[in-house]
């Protein structure tokens, strides 16, 4: 029988208090970690096979082992809780239902990487989560888990919550550091890497909130035991999967990593609502390529999803039903990316509004067939030439649409209207303000 780890206190329906968290085994991971050497903690995380839950999937233990622990401090550990990937709602639940779990994870992470200061970077819209975290931090301070000489170990750490003020780009790790430093959140050149010169040019480690929340469980169970919880050989541990769209039971589920996409949608999501059928899905947020019905057996994990031409991303699935026009879905997606582009590099700032415009022309029935090659060429140019991973994530779903839904796209052009919504809708103003073609 599968025992939930990350979500075991979610049934409370409100933030678990310190007492409730400790009753469920909370802070035992911190106590155990403080008795280990930092290298042993890192070793356990390497053994666990945990990979970054923000979407990129970088091995967490490896990231920690790269942190420069020799240079003089201060060193920092940052938790990225700027969850803004459309379709994703896992970190918000973690913080509003069990804030101590994130804090305990951060404390152990800070101990392993010798960081004396931790920040939880949270988007402003997550008001409830920020409140829950601040209450939990005060409780943890009172119990001696945060501050000087934690539990008599000699390790000291302070934690604060930074409430941001919008903009998706803040979730890019180097842009996040700029944002925390009170600068515009544009990405930085790498090298230097954050592991040696990050926040305030000091050694810095940064992980997603879900990644950090896994750490106490890894320490308590041991890396290898945690790893064995996965549903298939290549995976590790458990994962929060979300599902939204026209399914019967949209929500968030903690499942063994590598649970097949089909099982997430049909068993946990309850399958499609009456009268709707499955058309395609974004497996892990707005920046992940589409998956069609023939690939639904894929285990939801980084490598497996990559093999079918997409990415697991955040693991929060957005389902498109048969009433969704795929072109209009991509217009919506590009509207998001165009508006959120930080403006730092030209391919993203100027390229995305251009791609958005072509999509709008197709949907409105005014595009010519040869504009498809212009669309394709722009996506292929933007993809490798932008400064950070933002713009590749923006055009990747569009590229997948051209690969998987070519006939539907061409039908718009042939019929001079949307074949699904019927009448053409007039082009809306471009969010980039750069006019039409």
């Amino acid at each position: 029988m599968f025992q939930p780890l990350l979500t075991k206190n979610f049934h409370l329906g409100r933030p678990a208090s310190l007492k409730e968290y400790e009753a469920s085994g909370g802070y035992a991971g911190l106590r155990a970690a403080l008795k280990m050497a930092p290298d042993e903690v890192i070793k356990a995380v390497i053994d666990s096979g945990l990979r970054g839950r923000g979407g990129a999937g970088f091995p967490t233990g490896k990231k920690w082992s790269l942190t420069d622990r020799k240079s003089p401090g201060p060193r920092y550990f940052l938790v990225n809780a700027d969850e803004m990937e459309p379709g994703t709602f896992k970190d918000r639940f973690l913080m509003v239902r069990d804030p101590h779990q994130v804090i305990e994870g951060l404390l152990i992470s800070g101990y392993a990487t010798d960081a004396g200061k931790g920040y939880i970077f949270i988007r402003y819209e997550y008001c409830e989560a920020a409140r829950a975290l601040n209450v939990a931090i005060e409780e943890a301070k009172g119990a001696g888990f945060i501050g000087k000489d934690i539990l008599g170990s000699g390790f000291s750490m302070e934690i604060s919550v930074h409430r941001s003020a919008g903009r998706y780009e803040c979730g890019e790790e180097t842009a996040l550091m700029n944002a925390l430093e009170g600068r515009r959140a544009n990405p930085r050149s790498k090298p230097p890497y954050p592991a040696s010169k990050g926040f305030w040019m000091r050694p810095t480690t940064i992980n997603n909130a879900e990644t950090v929340a896994n750490i106490p469980h890894i320490i308590k169970m041991g890396g290898n035991t945690w790893k064995s919880l996965a549903a298939y050989d290549g995976g590790a541990g458990t994962k929060l999967y979300g599902i939204s769209g026209r399914v019967k039971n949209p929500g968030l589920f903690e499942l063994p990593t590598g649970t097949p996409l089909k099982e997430i949608i049909e068993t946990h999501g309850g399958g499609m609502q009456e009268g709707y059928s499955f058309k395609a899905c974004l497996p892990g947020g707005a920046s992940t390529p589409l998956i069609t019905p023939n690939n639904l057996d894929v285990p939801m994990d980084f490598d497996a999803v990559s093999k079918v031409g997409s990415r697991m991303g955040t693991g929060c699935v957005t389902v498109f039903d048969d009433t969704c026009c795929i072109v209009r879905a991509m217009i919506n997606n590009l509207l998001f990316f165009t508006r959120e582009s930080c403006g730092w590099c030209t391919p993203c700032r100027d390229g995305l509004p251009f791609v958005h415009d072509i999509l709008r022309r197709i949907e409105a029935g005014v595009a010519e067939m040869d504009e498809l090659s212009v669309l394709e060429e722009n996506c292929e140019t933007i993809y490798p030439n932008s400064f950070c991973a933002f713009a590749p994530g923006a055009v990747d779903p569009v590229r997948s649409m051209l690969r998987l839904f070519r006939p539907e796209v061409e039908e718009h052009i042939k019929l001079k209207r949307c074949p699904i919504n019927g009448t053409p809708s007039p082009p809306t103003p471009s969010p980039g303000g750069r006019g039409g073609l």
């Binding site: 969850e83 803004m84 990937e85 459309p86 379709g87 994703t88 709602f89 970190d91 918000r92 402003y124 819209e125 997550y126 008001c127 409830e128 930074h162 409430r163 941001s164 003020a165 919008g166 903009r167 998706y168 944002a179 925390l180 430093e181 009170g182 600068r183 515009r184 959140a185 305030w200 979300g242 599902i243 939204s244 769209g245 026209r246 949209p250 929500g251 968030l252 974004l282 707005a286 929060c316 957005t318 389902v319 498109f320 039903d321 969704c324 879905a329 919506n332 997606n333 509207l335 998001f336 508006r339 959120e340 930080c342």
Partner: protein, 155 residues
Amino acid sequence: MLSDDRIKELREYVSSLEHPEEALVDLMHEAQSAYGYLSDEAAEAVADIAGVPVIKVEELATFYNLIFRRPVGRKVIFVCDSISCWVMGMENMFDYLKKKLGIDIGQTTADGAFTLLPICCLGACHVAPAMMVGEKLYGNLTPERIDEILEKERI
């Protein structure tokens, strides 16, 4: 307006920091709620408290979509217009709100109660379509529910 006492407290807080710039976003949020929006006067107050040039505050304020350099209503309605809410009929909710409030996106109602703005995914996809009014999150929107919410939130 920020009270003299509060300014004094904020100055003490800023001077306790190794890097005062770290407080800029917090200060902008606080000044914004005190002044209603980040007016020129509010931006100058932030710069003065943090000990940075006003242009630095301006540079930051114009980057963030949740810092308003123009007046907004007493509450801002943020309607999620990202992908999961789109699937669940966000476009109709937006149209309904515009009609109901008699304003377009980016405008404020004549009585100054509400400003209507789009926002990216609010992380409430399982209860899409969703919106935020002030600091309160609402999901499973329908026209009837929007009527009730506006009634409750209007101040």
